[in-house]
Amino acid sequence: MDRLVFLTVDGLSRGAVYATMALALVLIWRGARIVNFAQGAMAVAAAYVAHSVTAATGSFWLGFAAAIAAGPALGWLVERLVMRHVGHDRPLNAVIVALGLVLLITAVLGIVYGNEFRPAPAAFDRTALQLGGVPLLSPYDVFVFGTVAVTVGALALLFTRSRVGLRLRASAFAPEVSRLLGVNVSGMLLLGWVLAAGVGALAGMLIIPTEFGLHPNAMDRSFVVAFTAAVVGGLDSPAGAVIGGLAVGLVLSFVGGYLGDQVTPLAIIVLLLAVLLIRTDGLFATPAARRI
């Protein structure tokens, strides 16, 4: 019973971070119909910025803030310098360019920082506090839940309650009409990339301390998990991304806890395939008009 509680809390905590990463994917997919396969690599780059700033100033939180600033800056660069020049005659073009970015970013990080694992300290203690003899939340879990909740809440407010959010949604759904109505569609696209890269950087900062450490490829597997989460939720739905993230976190935590850690990689593939084969567009996506 203790174990079940522990695995549930741990799964939800990890799932919350996967949800954030999935949310970043959904943000770009909704705006540009691109799955940003470089999301993980961009998050690692932001984490390395945090590492440098922390090493220079001695302050963890300054580093954290630097990562949250570096993420959007990188998103801005990627959209302006690369993604807006990609031809859209084939949906695969953007995917392939994103893969080129993955190679480039990991290589640059490897050249600048080396390919060794570096320690990535967590913001708070990760040992679980006992509650009536049962190990429950760790301070880090509380921090993760709080941060993710604030992020998701802020994004929801932005999209549903603000004028910018309305423009963002409008230019994603009907770019031509929005342009005619005076919306700066290309600006909105850029804003989408900047927002997503910021959210992705945050997810990276939360996830890397729970893994083996900082490494140019540190987010490879987490990216696949986050993609799975986004697909479970349907790439179109932010709420789906959050639910998908939590669900995937729970599944992986239970599989790892009861069947062994070596099985979790296989569980990711099985889960991804199972969801895609049942509902080709994810579980929570609204069905689009059927093609003949």
């Binding site: 997919w29 691109i34 799955v35 396969f37 690369v82 020049h85 990609v86 031809g87 084939r90 949906p91 695969l92 073009n93 995917v95 392939i96 360019v97 893969l99 080129g100 970015l101 993955v102 190679l103 480039l104 970013i105 990991t106 290589a107 640059v108 490897g110 050249i111 080396g114 390919n115 490829n217 490879d220 597997r221 696949v224 993609f227 799975t228 697909v231 790439l235 070596q262 099985v263 990689p265 296989l266 990711i268 593939i269 991804l272 395939l273 895609l276 084969l277 080709t280 093609r291 003949i292």
Partner: protein, 331 residues
């Protein structure tokens, strides 16, 4: 008929080349041939049928591990390679069944998961697969006596595999199946209206390309005489995609360019860094990472500026040349 003649001609030329080249260059030629099996298969799948796979590195690993296990158990190379192809074909059929229902980024995501996750399976069964260390195996010496260079023998094995792959895939893409691939790639709805079974066509493309990747992986194992998960990481899968895109999507000639690039680019960047006398720590960091960076930049630039790749440029250059007969008539 022309294709068989071309294959025979290429075989003769390459046979002569293996006698001219020194051992290390023979080894590199063999490596190009091993990659060519995989890039040719991926070209059929992605370039001709329009399905992007990021998991071909993992399929190569499947072939390589099968060959390693079979070499240790039975020791007959043709049998091992055949088993490698058979097992990878089966794996390709499983992924292909799923792939036929998935589109664009979804398929890329699933195959990405395969590429990231499969190397981890080696630690799951580390008593058989050897964990992170991998496995080494024995390859019988060439049947021409011990003074026959081993690298030349390896080159012969690899080139045979590559030529066979190119011939079979060339025949396939020129057949009605190849036309069905391209029809599915260009417009699925139109293809279906023409009576093409889209899902079956996509599964066929995946199975064929998986078999080629398995052969390539098996040959790569024969070249290294060992297999380990590190050799088949996500980076390899990304490199394969890079190779076919830069070589030129859609034509098997592009796959040849891509395979050559995969071997030549790291070698070239290594030589460039050798020219500048760099401090050893920096040189070590550059060694593994600079080719990655060059590949990444090349991929982005080619995709944006010259989506036809090298083969596209070759074709354009050829069309700029005046056709020979009309020049004569003009005078």
């Amino acid at each position: 008929m022309r294709r068989y003649a071309a294959t025979l001609g290429a075989a003769g030329a390459l046979l002569g080349l293996t006698y001219l080249l020194p051992a290390f260059q023979n080894y590199q030629l063999a490596t190009v041939a091993a990659y060519l099996c995989a890039t040719a298969g991926l070209t059929v799948l992605t370039g001709q049928c329009g399905q992007l796979s990021l998991g071909h590195g993992a399929l190569m690993a499947t072939g390589a591990y099968t060959v390693a296990l079979m070499q240790s158990a039975v020791g007959s190379l043709p049998l091992s390679l055949a088993a490698g192809v058979a097992v990878t074909t089966a794996a390709g059929a499983v992924i292909g069944l799923a792939a036929a229902r998935l589109r664009g980024p979804y398929l890329a995501g699933v195959t990405l998961a395969v590429a990231v996750v499969v190397p981890g399976i080696t630690t799951m069964f580390d008593d058989v697969l050897g964990g992170d260390q991998g496995r080494t195996f024995y390859l019988a010496p060439p049947p021409f006596g011990y003074d026959f260079p081993f690298e030349r023998w390896q080159a012969w094995i690899a080139l045979t595999a590559a030529l066979l792959t190119m011939l079979l895939l060339g025949n396939l893409t020129a057949s009605r199946y190849g036309r069905a691939f391209r029809a599915v790639r260009d417009d699925e709805v139109a293809a279906r209206l023409c009576g093409i079974h889209v899902a079956r066509t996509q599964i066929l493309a995946f199975v064929v390309s998986a078999a080629a990747a398995g052969l390539g992986g098996g040959v790569l194992a024969v070249l290294a005489l060992s297999v380990s998960p590190g050799a088949f990481s996500l980076t390899l899968s990304l490199f394969l995609v890079m190779a076919i895109v830069v070589g030129g999507l859609g034509s098997l000639a592009g796959a040849v360019w891509g395979a050559i690039l995969l071997v030549a680019l790291p070698d070239l960047t290594a030589r460039v860094t050798e020219v500048f006398a760099l401090p050893p720590a920096l040189a070590q960091r550059l060694e593994g990472n600079l080719p990655l960076a060059v590949f990444g930049i090349t991929l982005i630039v080619v995709m944006i500026l010259a989506p036809g790749g090298i083969q596209g440029l070759v074709r354009r250059a050829r069309s700029l040349l005046p056709p020979v007969p009309s020049v004569n008539r003009g005078r």
